[in-house]
Symmetry: C2
Amino acid sequence: MPATAVFRTAIAPEWVDYNGHLRDAYYMLILSFATDALMDRLGLDAAYRERARCTLYTLEAHIHYLQEVKQTDVAEVCVRILAADAKRIHAGLELHCERHTGPAALAEVMLLHVHQGEKVTAMPFPPAVSDAIGRLHEETAGLPVPEPGSRRMELRPRP
Amino acid sequence: MPATAVFRTAIAPEWVDYNGHLRDAYYMLILSFATDALMDRLGLDAAYRERARCTLYTLEAHIHYLQEVKQTDVAEVCVRILAADAKRIHAGLELHCERHTGPAALAEVMLLHVHQGEKVTAMPFPPAVSDAIGRLHEETAGLPVPEPGSRRMELRPRP
């Protein structure tokens, strides 16, 4: 697994749809589990969430489906930090399968750190988490950003 | 249900995550089921798929998460056609719950009509399907397009 890989999973049979491949939403489920793994890596794990009553909410997600994933594949997700501020992480996620040379899907997610009290309020990351985000950002900053990234979706003329 | 509603579902307990609400990927699963319902409405149903060996592949999806959905909610999805050409549909999807006045999520998807032969090839819609897409496009063209739509994802400064 590359250094930036955070999650690896087999494909559950119930994730395969009538088209004979991984249903679009289950690509997102694998990416969602990968985001959980990223949270563990950054110190936003279950113990932290319980103690601080803080967690990450997904604000936005944009995914490009590039290759079919079959039931016999194993999916691996690599992550990079594209940007971050005091409360938010903009992460890039790549879903890979050995069968394909390029990524099977590319996604970007925007994550917000919140406190779940009587109401849900945005909350700055604690310093140790900010440091961990900064380190991962530095580690992944030099990697080429795969195209197409997030962009306005529209019907573009095709050759 | 509004005229453009195509799908309605209760929230399965296993769709709720450690944050106490619908996991991000399961919003997408509900939207994916709604896309199946849209296909039925357009004549791209199971019988068509079997007969023609044609189906829709999702090329791209962009979702904004606006409200938490709880296990006690019922989700309803409205659809509109934002654009279409001979082989592609650009659809807008809104996920609503009665508890919230506005949508709980907004999404856009780009769908491609393909033939699943020895290899998968893009294929024009049959005329009856193109007509059905055109009619739904006309019916929904006048509806206000909710903001924010699909756009390049980036960390924008917050007030």
